[in-house]
């Protein structure tokens, strides 16, 4: 177990799967589900949330140092894993927050086991097929292309060079490759969405906040609107001049709106 000033980095066994979990802070549990690129590590927004909550930031099975069980082949499978994760760690009812592909996962969990959730936050979430625009190709392009699509203006991303644009070590490149393999497995077809998800979400009354970068070039803001329509108790907050990662690109506005929402639940 690696311990730093702010958080711990542990490997635990969940549902027979070796799972890497970053954990820090104290308070009610807040479970953060990362996107298709993998666990970003302990970021400034994790640290900010850790002031009020116990933050859990696992690497999904198949990502990072987590093992890849053969039975997890779809987002529904992954949601079942996290249902067991929440139960095993005794986190329910948990504040659940999902980013991009992790947002899709969070939505599936919300539909699967509403009583496990205290709140749901979806940040530029995959999972629904847009009616306007399309989800960008991520699996058949190089990571450099994806990086360019991610932000509206990299210049406004604090610590962009150290947090986002740094050269990966060979070991990190191996991890990135493995992450992309797992993303292919989960998101290939239908591409980054579940056509049945709107039906699954019907009647889910969990308090939900949907946050979206207005200029998201990866998942169109229209998906945020569709999520708001699908969820019974949801608010949509669109951040202008912001791309796919508002937590990095517009951290102050992101933390303010999400913090206020979580405090009310």
């Amino acid at each position: 177990m690696a311990v730093t000033r702010d958080y711990t980095d542990e490997l635990i066994e969940v549902a027979g799967t070796r799972t890497q979990v970053l954990k820090g802070g104290s308070g009610a549990p807040l479970l953060l589900l990362h996107g298709a690129g993998g666990n970003p590590g302990w970021m400034p927004y994790h640290q900010a949330f850790a002031q009020q909550y116990t933050v859990y930031a696992p690497s999904h099975p198949g990502y990072g140092s987590s093992s890849r069980p053969d039975w997890i082949r779809s987002m529904a499978d992954m949601a079942h894993f996290y249902r067991q994760f929440i139960a095993q760690l005794g986190l329910a009812p948990v504040h659940l927050m999902g980013f991009s592909m992790g947002g899709w996962l969070a939505a599936e969990l919300a539909a699967m086991c509403p009583p496990y959730l205290r709140s749901l936050t979806l940040v530029d979430a995959a999972g629904l097929k847009p009616e306007v625009g399309e989800i960008a190709e991520l699996l058949m392009v190089s990571p450099d292309v994806t990086k360019k699509l991610r932000f509206y203006d990299p210049a406004q991303v604090p610590d962009y060079e150290t947090l986002v644009n740094r050269q990966l070590t060979p070991k990190e490149q191996d991890v990135q490759w493995r992450n992309r393999e797992m993303t292919s497995r989960l998101c290939w077809k239908p591409y980054f969405h579940n056509p049945h998800l709107p039906a699954y979400l019907h009647g889910v009354k969990t308090p939900a906040l949907i946050v979206w970068g207005k200029q998201d070039a990866i998942i169109p803001v229209n998906c945020g609107e569709l999520y708001q329509q699908a969820l019974a108790n949801a608010t949509l907050h669109v951040i202008d001049r912001c791309g796919h990662s508002p937590a990095l690109e517009k951290p102050q506005e992101f933390l303010t709106v999400v913090g206020a929402f979580l405090a009310k639940q």
């Binding site: 699996l139 058949m140 392009v141 190089s142 191996d174 490759w177 493995r178 992309r180 393999e181 292919s184 497995r185 290939w188 077809k189």
Partner: protein, 279 residues
């Protein structure tokens, strides 16, 4: 596919050799399939086809990728238990091991000689562990060989073998090697080695470099016979096939070399002795 190959075996009076090819990422993509499933799908398809050839129908098949409630082939191959299966590869270790474990002849598609030697050793070791002694029929090598009247003419024509040097297929190069199509370990091996003008990773070798190491063999009949003999005696393949022409070569230009390759070369090659089970 099982029925079509069986049909061909019937038409030919039991002379079909069935080549089972994994296919490339591009083919997975164009089939709408996740490339990371390529090898698993291939293995399951292999098992299902052999079952079609050997198990009376109707039967049910419920695998990971293929689900059929009623499989009932209407034609079976003449050859029993089923036609020979040849498995081609360029250098994926998983593929070589798989071929040996299933006792299928492994056809190396023109990798560099030292790489091919290595994979042949892997095949023999795996076969030994699997409990069978591979024979001459278990190892093959495909190479690019072109014959013309003179060395100079052949060298010039042989440049057409490099027609995929700049691109392996239409479309972005990410379509050729996406994550999951090959294992990370295989890709690292390929990145670390020079390529033979058909890959998208690793250092590309030039036409002249490939000729110098006999990966492309071009020349007059005497030159080609000499080089082919060197390769065959070095690698000891039980099956040696050549690709006599590639790329945009006018048919009239290709006829000469092909006729050389087809008739005169084979006559002069039979004098070579081979010991394919030697590493």
């Amino acid at each position: 596919m099982a029925e079509e190959i069986a049909m061909l075996d019937c038409f030919s009076g039991g002379r079909i050799i069935s080549g089972f090819v994994r296919g490339t990422a591009v083919e997975s993509l164009h089939g709408g399939l996740d490339p990371s499933e390529n090898f698993e799908r291939f293995q399951e398809a292999h098992d299902l086809i052999i079952k079609c050839w050997t198990t009376p129908g109707p039967f049910r098949y419920e695998g990971k990728y293929y689900h059929y409630r009623a499989v009932n082939p209407w034609v079976l191959p003449v050859q029993k238990p089923y036609p020979d299966i040849w498995f081609p590869g360029t250098g994926s270790p998983e593929s070589v091991v798989w071929a040996a474990q299933h006792q299928h002849p492994y056809m190396n598609l023109g990798a560099l000689v030292d790489v091919t030697e290595h994979w042949k050793g892997v095949y023999i070791d795996t076969a030994t562990q699997a409990g069978f002694a591979p024979g001459p029929e278990h190892f093959g090598y495909l190479l690019r060989a072109l014959v013309a009247d003179t060395d100079e003419k052949a060298i010039e024509l042989g440049r057409l073998f490099m027609w995929t040097e700049a691109h392996r297929a239409r479309g972005p190069h990410e379509h050729n090697d996406p994550p999951g199509d090959q294992s990370r370990e295989v890709l690292k091996v390929k990145i670390s080695r020079p390529t033979i003008g058909t890959g998208t990773v690793g250092r590309k070798m030039s036409y002249d470099e490939l000729r110098a190491v006999n990966n492309i063999i071009v020349g007059s009949p005497d030159t080609v016979i000499k080089k082919l003999t060197e390769i065959i005696e070095h690698l000891n393949p039980g099956i040696c096939t050549s690709m006599a022409m590639k790329g945009r070569c006018p048919i009239r230009t290709s006829c000469g070399p092909l006729s050389y390759s087809g008739e005169k070369l084979s006559q002069r090659c039979t004098r070579s002795s081979c010991n394919p089970t030697r590493k």
